[in-house]
């Protein structure tokens, strides 16, 4: 039942337990218990809203930063990651295979704020060797959802 619950709420976290239970053909109390258990076990880590900020008046800059580091004695990747993800403006940190070590996603008010973060906070961490900062120009699809156009039903109203 877990995977099926997750598959639904991954796309719609606002769905009520009653409706969710109906969709899955499961008992309401059992579904509620399973969700509570997954929250406790950190399988479910939060409930977010997918926002297309481009359609608001809010100015936001999103940056993707490639970070190369040298892991030091007694301090593996995890420790370095921790030093990076503690910053509240950092939205995601991933350890990568390939040409660099971390992908750091950053949300800030302006490009200058991003520059400041990289210069003053990120680059000054001892283990950080180099950074390459990319700015997101436009989001087309996020979390499996196409952002740029609303879906339109072009079918005829009645079809036998």
């Amino acid at each position: 039942m877990r995977e099926r619950i997750l598959a639904v709420i991954e796309k719609n976290s606002r769905i009520g337990v009653k409706e969710l239970a109906a969709l899955l053909g499961e008992n309401e109390a059992a579904v509620a218990a399973e969700i509570a258990a997954m929250e406790a076990e950190h399988v479910i880590c939060g409930y977010h809203t997918l926002i297309n900020w481009d359609n608001t008046d809010e100015e936001k800059v999103i940056a993707l930063i490639e970070v190369k580091v040298t892991p030091q004695r007694e301090m593996g990747f995890d420790k370095i990651a921790e030093r990076i993800y503690q910053y509240s403006e950092v939205t995601s940190v991933y350890l990568m295979s390939g040409g660099y070590d971390f992908t750091v996603m950053l949300e800030a008010k302006s490009m200058r704020a991003v520059a400041q973060f990289v210069a003053e906070k990120l680059s000054t961490i001892d283990s950080v060797l180099s950074t390459a900062t990319h700015f997101v120009l436009k989001k087309y699809k996020d979390h499996g959802t196409v952002l740029c156009e609303g879906p339109q039903d072009e079918r005829m109203m009645i079809v036998p």
């Binding site: 005829m156 009645i158 079809v159 036998p160």
Partner: protein, 394 residues
């Protein structure tokens, strides 16, 4: 001037859905639950194959029966899903939708005056196509108490010496009924005893929610009597591509092919190339869409139940067929009032045969979001009716 028209065609009444459609399409802000096609787009990789075939300039006729590559894939599919063996060269043909296959199967098999058994409620084309083929349609009225399945008793009842063909439309539009293996075994004896042939319209075969679809052709002795019809519209969300197929014994298929060759030439080439990809790489898409339909099906069933609408549980297709007899209105009246008062379009059961009276066809080929909005309005309609009924009583 003489009357330019054929009496046969003039005497066929237009589809009952048409009339309703005209009212709905005029209405602003209406939510429709009246559609008989998937709400999903054709999966991208399938569309891409269609595009690629155009880029490569594959814009010519294919052979009459269809691309060899596609026929081979259809045979593989029928083997994989239904464990049926058909020869791609002599027993399979590609048609313009399942609808064409229904038409030409009837025309290839019916002699003037021979009777064709048509279980109803069912899709709107069987009766007219039978008439156009010169046959005599004989309706078998299915009932909710049998879960709208065809029983051997009901079948036997309508058989006369002139009966030749049984149309088997399962999983069913509009009821959502299925025929499970035991149901098919039960009627197979009757079919054999009276030496009948079967045109099995299995266009919804991938959309079954309790066990795998079984084709009548899988029942021993039935393959040689069966024209199996299926297509890409429902399983792969490819309605607009107009592509279906028929699999039948060579004796029958050869004559069907003759009609197809003269009337149609061949099914659209672009669609055929896309369909090859659908069959090769589309199994996951089918599973994904089916899961979504199944969720909606359970949701709708729970909703209807909680608002006091009687509804038997459909195990196939993407329709609910709730019973509205307790409201004391005809299907037409109920559907019209629901449209006028709450701007919800559903199809009256009578569009699918007289025995659809007292029922509505509600399609769940809509996003959950749309269904939620629509169901809230239906609930309001039902509650208002129940309140008024309560006031009258007291």
């Amino acid at each position: 001037m003489r009357n330019p028209l054929s009496d046969t065609i003039v005497n066929i009444p237009p589809s009952g859905i048409r009339k309703f459609f005209d009212v709905v399409s005029e209405m602003k802000g209406a939510i429709s639950l009246g559609v008989g096609e998937p709400d999903f787009d054709t999966p991208w990789h399938i569309r891409e194959e269609g595009i690629r075939s155009l880029e490569k300039g594959r814009t010519f006729y294919t052979s009459n029966a269809g691309l060899k590559e596609l026929k081979v894939e259809i045979c593989r599919y029928l083997k994989r899903r239904q464990n049926l063996d058909y020869d791609y060269n002599s027993e399979v043909m590609v048609t313009v939708g399942g609808s064409e296959a229904i038409d030409i199967a009837l025309r290839a098999m019916v002699n003037p005056g021979e009777e064709v058994l048509i279980p109803q409620p069912s899709y709107v084309s069987y009766v007219p196509c039978t008439i156009l083929a010169g046959g005599k349609p004989v309706v078998i009225e299915l009932e909710e108490k049998d879960q709208f399945r065809l029983t051997p008793e009901k079948l036997e009842e309508k058989i006369t010496p002139a009966t030749k063909i049984l149309i088997l439309p399962f999983p069913n539009n509009p009821t959502g009924a299925v025929m499970e293996k035991e149901d098919l075994q039960a009627i197979a004896g009757v079919i054999e005893k009276h030496d009948l042939f079967v045109i099995s319209d299995e266009i919804y075969s991938e959309l079954t929610y309790r066990g795998k679809h079984v084709s009548i052709a899988e029942i021993p002795g039935m393959r040689e009597r069966t024209v199996l019809i299926n297509g890409f519209s429902k399983a792969y969300a490819m309605t607009g591509w107009r592509l279906g197929y028929a699999a039948a014994p060579a004796l029958i298929l050869k004559q069907m092919l003759k009609i197809h060759q003269f009337a149609i030439m061949c099914a659209p080439t672009t669609s055929q190339y896309a369909a090859v990809d659908a069959l090769k790489n589309g199994d996951e898409d089918i599973a994904r869409m089916k899961e979504a339909y199944d969720e909606r099906r359970r949701y709708l069933l729970a909703e209807f139940c909680s608002m006091g609408m009687d509804c038997f549980e459909p195990y196939g297709a993407f329709y609910m067929f709730p019973c509205i007899k307790r409201f004391g209105m005809s299907s037409d009246e109920f559907a019209t009032r629901l449209l006028q008062e709450e701007k919800i379009a559903v199809v009256p059961g009578t569009a699918f045969g007289d025995c659809g009276e007292g029922y509505l066809r509600v399609s769940y080929a809509y996003s959950l979001e749309d269904l939620r909005k629509a169901l809230a309005r239906i609930r309001r309609f039902v509650e208002r009716f129940d309140q008024n009924a309560g006031q009258k009583e007291s």
